[in-house]
Amino acid sequence: MQQLSVRHLLGIKNINQNDIQLIFETADTFKEVLNRPIKKVPSLRDVTIANVFFENSTRTRLSFELAQKRLSADVINFSSSSSSVKKGETLLDTVNNILAMKVDMIVMRHSSPGAPHFLARHVKANIVNAGDGTHEHPTQALLDSFSIREKFGEVRGKKVAIIGDILHSRVALSNIFALQKQGAEVMVCGPVTLLPRYINELGVKVELDVRKALQWCDVANVLRIQLERQQIKYFPSLREYSLYYGINKAMLDSLDKEILLMHPGPINRGVELTSDAADSHHSVILNQVENGVAIRMAVLYLLAQATS
């Protein structure tokens, strides 16, 4: 029987194409479970999971918590704003204290890149990275690819443009790894100040004109401008950004083909996407959220078996 090649889901970089395939096939069965009258299975009834969030989150946290509850796991939640971290406790001490209460898995979001990798080296529990700073957000990339696979049948050979703040986006990096491992073509598009300096080494196309990017792609994955991570000004004003890089319905309608519009959320309506584009028939944004629960159930289910 197939098994994941890893004990932790730290990033897409660390897993292989077979792992991605196994996660997708497992998620297919969980998607069926989520459409039943009773949406719960008892698989993880003896597993305790801690959701440790050192950074704000709505979607990811709710999605993980729901996935855990649908699998009948015991769940504890922790957020740094209301904890002893404010009193000066280190990350490792905090986590070891949680683990002393016999926790089997940790789902962690942290503002420092590499925080879950550090944890995986020092603790015994399975770690799931729910976003580490500007580095990786593996479950988001998996659910994005899963949504593409659902619409097109497969990811291989598809052209995907990632548009927006590439520099500060963990979603962009995880998506680039995930899409390339599955044989898709990837383009990044954004103002030159928001593209990482060494982006060419990742083997992706770079485009500065959003119209050309839309014309090229089958799927446009639009990202939010992460103002909270920007200490300096990367562009003159949000108004100017939305004028040059904002996507509206007229642009989508003017293309000579149908493209899929994705967004990991939260959307800043009127900045990267106008409301008429976000709510148009091109958009699969809410499908992504729905698939997120099935993907996270699959990841937790497979990692829970990797312990024994």
């Binding site: 029987m1 197939q2 098994q3 196994l22 096939e25 497992t26 297919d28 069965t29 069926e32 479970v33 039943r36 009258p37 009773i38 719960k40 299975v41 008892p42 698989s43 993880l44 003896d46 597993v47 699998l71 497979l302 829970a304 078996q305 990797a306 312990t307 024994s308």
Partner: protein
């Protein structure tokens, strides 16, 4: 390794006919009765029964495929991980009589998981178990079948191999491997 045949395709067909007659005796026109085949191998038997019953009764019999993976009691307790199969139950079993179908009954643990799994689709009025091969004296749980193709005395180390044409075998056959 020794291979002893339990059913060749002819005997299998005869036995299927007999089981269908027994089912009709107890369920008349199958008005409130559904068939649930257990993944991964009980589904072939369930589909065969459905075909035969449809021929005999001249109506479609509600048939579903039930996967028990998420309800098993050996999750995280076995060497190899469990990979789920598809569940396809396109109806609600509330107040229905359910005939649970599997090819081989051994410890009874999969049947216990199936009893759990089917509750997600409603509360059945009654559940009966149909198996092709009943391995006697090997049960871990108090579970016994209603309809039996054949009972065999086996020991733990023996294995029952079931081959269906639908899976790519040349002929339907059931073997006892020692």
């Amino acid at each position: 390794m020794q291979k002893r045949i339990l059913f060749d395709s002819q005997l299998l067909d005869l036995t299927l006919n007999r089981l269908c007659q027994q089912l009709i005796e107890n369920h008349d026109a199958f008005e409130q009765t559904v068939i649930l085949g257990m993944q991964p191998r009980g589904i072939f038997l369930a589909d065969r029964l459905q075909q035969k019953l449809t021929g005999l009764l001249g109506k479609e019999i509600l048939t579903g495929h039930l996967d028990t993976t998420f309800y098993r009691d050996d999750f995280r307790r076995r060497e190899s991980p469990l990979k789920p199969n598809t569940t396809h139950v396109p109806f609600i079993i509330e107040d229905k009589k359910v005939i649970l179908v599997d090819d081989v009954l051994f410890t009874g643990r999969t049947v216990r998981a199936a009893l759990d799994a089917m509750i997600a689709f409603g509360r059945p009025k009654k559940v009966e178990l149909l198996v092709m091969v009943d391995r006697k004296y090997s049960r871990d749980l108090p579970i016994e079948p209603f309809y039996i193709g054949r009972q065999v005395n086996t020991i733990m180390s023996q294995r029952v191999l079931v081959e269906w044409k639908e899976q790519g075998a040349a002929e339907d056959a059931i073997w006892l491997i020692t």
